[in-house]
């Protein structure tokens, strides 16, 4: 790995801003934060599904912000509210579909190779956290669907012993988990995952030969 050299606070004259700057710039190798070139093997559609997942996540968050501004009366009664509500649902459906295809692709190319174990695990945690976020979203619709789903889910949640802290019959708690806590978790892990991908590079195919070093 050719990340920028790390600088200790002593080397920056005790300046915490210079130390933090060196930490941030050292997160990924120079030029790899937003690269304009990729290894030749990346020229395959299977490598597109990670960024499709990110694109869907952007639409999910954007439409979710619009729903938060309008509120439940808006998304239940106005035509624009219905549209944004549907956009939020279908962007989530696409988010999960492309994320699972991304998962299949990375599993079959054993993407944890080459010290990429943490990249794989952050993806796993992001997937699990996304399921929780979607679940609390279904509980936050404020309609009969959300009532039905919460009533069906309560026994399962209670059976694993967390019902006292995560009460699916409490729509206020579920809404706050859905719009604050879990999106924060998914967002932070997604950023961490992308930083790790940029830090270690895209995993080569299983049958790829030794890396050919180029000038780029």
């Amino acid at each position: 790995m050719s990340a920028a050299p790390q600088v200790s606070p002593a080397e920056t004259g005790g300046s915490w801003t210079a130390w933090l700057r060196s930490k941030i710039t050292g997160l990924v190798p120079a030029g790899q934060a937003l690269p304009d070139r990729q290894p030749a093997y990346v020229a395959s559609w299977i490598y597109v599904f990670g960024v499709l997942t990110l694109a869907a996540l952007v639409v999910v968050i954007g439409s979710g912000l619009a729903l938060a501004v309008g509120g439940s009366a808006w998304w239940h009664t106005s035509s624009l509210g219905h549209f944004v509500n549907s956009m939020h649902l279908w962007s989530v459906e696409l988010f999960f579909a492309v994320m699972v295809i991304h998962l299949w692709g990375k599993f079959w190319m054993a993407a944890w190779r080459g010290k990429r174990g943490l990249t794989w695990m952050t993806g796993v945690v992001a997937f699990v956290a996304s399921i929780g976020t979607a679940f609390t979203g279904y509980l936050s619709q404020s309609n009969f669907d959300s009532q039905w789903i919460s009533a069906e889910a309560k026994d399962g949640i209670n059976s694993i012993g967390v019902g006292a802290w995560f009460n699916v019959l409490n729509p206020g708690q579920m809404l706050l988990w859905h719009v604050v806590l879990l999106p924060l978790v998914v967002g932070v892990i997604a950023v961490w995952h992308v930083v790790l991908v940029r830090r270690h590079g895209v995993v080569p195919p299983l049958d790829a030969g030794p890396p050919e070093r180029s000038g780029g």
Binding site: M1, Y41, H200
Partner: protein, 61 residues
Amino acid sequence: MMTAPEIAVLAAGHYVHWGVIKVSVTNFAIIVSMVVVFVLALVVPFPHGDRDGSDRHRDRS
């Protein structure tokens, strides 16, 4: 005019069974579509905009 039980049967959707596996036709169609997209992503050629400009097998691990 349909009776309430007939409406309930229609609303319940259609399911397919294989032993212990039970899945709605809708969800099964979505899963099959995802597998098709996955296979297409593996076999459909990717357009090469700048073949010579890409880094050959560069691995920074």
